[in-house]
Amino acid sequence: MILDSKIPEGPLEQKWDNYKKKAKLVNPANRKKLDVIVVGTGLAGSSIAASLGEMGYNVKSFCFQDSPRRAHSVAAQGGVNAAKNYKNDGDSVYRMFVDTLKGGDFRAREANVYRMAECSLNLIDQAVAQGVPFGREYGGYLNNRSFGGVQVSRTFYARGQTGQQLLLGSYQALMRQVGKGSVQLFSRHEMLDLVIIEGKARGIIVRNLDTGEIESHAAHAVVLATGGYGKIYYLSTLAMGCNGSAIWRAHKKGALMASPSWIQVHPTSLPQSGDYQSKLTLMSESLRNDGRIWVPLKENETRKANDIPENERDYYLERRYPAFGNLAPRDISSRAAKERIDAGFGIGPLKNAVYLDFSKAINEQGKEKIQEKYGNLFDMYLKITGYDAYQEPMMISPSAHFSMGGLWVDYELMTTIPGLFALGEANFADHGANRLGANSLLQASVDGYFIAPYTIANYLSNEIHTGKISTGDPAFKKAENEVKNQINGFIKINGTKTVDHFHKTLGKLLYDYCGLARNKEGLEFAIEEIRKLKQEFYNDVKVSGQGDTMNTELEKAGRVADYFEIGELMCYDALTRNESCGAHFREEYQTADGEALRNDSEFQFISTWAWKGENNEPELIKEPLIFEEIQPTVRSYK
């Protein structure tokens, strides 16, 4: 199979304009004859559903939460990037494009990255027009700040709740269309399968989570905006419900997955405190602006942080990366923490954390100043851990956070299945092997507000004469039956171990062997172990209750069943990339001083994967990356 990325003609700066000029339109009168399903109501999903609804298509919007406003985009804290150059500090679309491509370790498509930077200009306008109360200067103009890995101020923020405010903006736009009747809303509905008729995506099978009913929904196109699958590690910064099931079921129906093993680990989350723990809370990265990161110089240190004198502390980031110090990018900071923890210098009750120390900043700037800057975060820390970080250093540790991988899409955000689109974190595009902070809200939003409205219309222009798609088609019945069989299967097993037990075990395996660092033996071992665990799951899982009622355990069982397969594919993916890049650190490929060693001559491509059936090895298909505008260089933060 040859992948066609459909990158438009012309110089980089003109590609998107060229595409838009040529994209086909659908006459307003014909739009109401066309149905579109949008799964997901995060920034990507609610923005595309609202846009298409406004344009006059019939839209059905689905999410598994009780309200679209609760999609996980709501949790993003830091901010959203846009190359507005309001600070006159030399920012531009081109500079943002370069930063993003470099940040992603040259493993993203130039044309996509450029387009994201280009569309960033409009996003802020869109959000402000919707009433998003972004931070303002005293004079009334928009304020922004700088964020990890770049030298200009391009991050717009709404206190520490940027994701929440952006999402409320798009949710309100969505609800406006719901009120008008152009979008039909199905919350508490989970997509469990994709329906394909004559090679095209034509609908989905969902379970009504309140009643347990299995329903079929048909459409001319299906959009998956179902977010990331980082929750596969169990402990992560993601919400409990985040999952990879929608994209995975689409994958099993023929959509290729790309770069599944690239999952960003965030350096500043709160450490695990016990095995009952269900998630790890992210502390804003902004803390690293004033906090200094260290571990004791002595192994298995038992003294309290404040009792350890200055000369017995190892400020390892400042030591290893003098130029960037505590602000070194996420992958590098996370790895450096893991290195110290693994070497026996970790701190805290489980020896799994490092210190983030504000004492110097408090001494120099005063407690008030620090309180003003980070007070809410210190309060949150106190609430969760019971410790006062003004008195003693915080404890932080790396945690799974963002999946750069996802369904492979072309420039139109269409997967390898015609009529199936993937937006936001559910697709693989734009971030390469490592995502820069504040680029993800941006990507999810521009996909939905500015890109997909054109590309989906272009696709739908060929569907005007198709006529209504009927759920009476045998393909729907077949998929419904498969879904029902799977559900009944889970309940019948009636074993002895809970779904969470399996999820936690899988998560630990992935952290250990396909997490911050990977190696060949470990990955091969993990593949074996995951297969065994999956076998055990199908023999011994216990799902209480029934299939035809509300049943949270059943929901979890389906997601974990998919996680086994995704986890296995992650390991395959990591195994075949004999290089280190971004979030992917293969221990065999590092420099003498422990830095990542990329291999452009052999691995300048996107790894995409085709499903070959259960227990068969997946097939690797390569999309070569061609750099016309800038030549890959080595990332160095020394």
Binding site: S51, E54, S67, R69, R70, H72, V74, A75, K84, N122, D125, Q126, V128, A129, Q130, G131, P133, G135, R136, Y138, G139, Y141, L142, A158, R159, Q161, Q164, Q165, L168, Y171, Q172, A173, M175, R176, G179, S187, D210, A239, M240, S273, G274, Y276, Q277, S278, T281, L282, M380, I384, T385, G386, Y449, P453, T496, K497, T498, D500, K542, S544, M550, E553
Partner: protein
């Protein structure tokens, strides 16, 4: 630590519910309240019983999905805190904890601790937005908004839609939730144009959903995890009267 739990169990909306006792021992005080329920559920599942259904997702106090009455208080004993951010260290060893769903006519119980809060979505879709189409917005900085106003709008916009204000109100009024959105929108120039229609429609919808009237007990503000101020309600009332007045003219 040990806890005695009395949890409301209800099969579905039609069925009658009742309080059921559960004892948990050797709990880690650093556990969150929801992790304590997870622990209980693990035990129930292994025994072959049905776990307690409760709503939650982000577990970091921002999605608004969790929420239950704990010892008669929405989201439990801590001020400005969601249930997911509550930890066992806020309870005494050996304490008896009463856990019930949020109760209001407009929030029908779905199962155990889960209630249906879709009425909030319908209130928003009746007018809680700026009618701007996507795609072509004017330059964001062309309309200056003072720092002060932006921050004030934010204070109201921060509502997470959890419903604690309704659950804690003796009239089950949605005034705090609705007024927070109205205030957020009316403070900003973008939202001013539609202020009259918005407030009239949203208040009408609030009534249609069978939320009660606000009688100014201010219990909502006390329980709100986001510290949304009752001054929003005063603003809503002002906006409502203003809209009625302007419409008559």
């Amino acid at each position: 630590m040990d806890l005695h739990l009395k949890i409301w169990r209800q099969k579905d909306h039609q069925s009658e519910g009742k309080l059921v006792n559960y004892d948990l021992t050797a709990l880690n005080p650093h556990m969150s309240f929801l992790e304590m329920l997870d622990t209980l559920n693990e035990k129930l599942i292994v025994k072959g019983d049905e776990p307690v259904e409760f709503d939650h997702d982000c577990r970091e106090g921002i999605c608004g999905q969790c929420g239950m009455m704990i010892n008669g208080l929405a989201h439990g004993p801590l001020k400005n805190t969601t249930t997911c951010q509550l930890h066992l260290r806020s309870f005494k060893d050996g304490e008896t904890v009463l856990i019930e769903p949020f109760r209001a006519e407009a929030f029908p119980v779905k199962k155990d601790l889960k209630v249906d809060r879709s009425a909030f979505d319908r209130i928003i879709s009746s007018g809680g937005f700026v009618s701007i189409n996507t795609g072509q917005a004017p330059d964001a900085t062309a309309i200056p908004i003072t720092h002060q106003i932006a921050e004030e709008a934010f204070d109201s916009a921060a509502c997470i839609g959890c419903g604690a204000c309704v659950a804690t109100c003796k009239n089950a009024s949605a005034a705090l939730f609705t007024s927070a959105k109205i205030t957020h929108m009316v403070l900003l120039p973008q939202g001013k144009e539609e202020r009259s229609n918005r407030v009239l429609n949203m208040v009408k919808q609030m009534d249609a959903e069978h939320f009660g009237h606000c009688s100014n007990t201010e219990a909502c503000e006390v329980e709100c995890p986001q510290g949304i101020s009752v001054l929003n309600i005063a603003r809503m009332n002002y906006e409502y009267n203003r809209a009625l007045f302007l419409r008559k003219k």
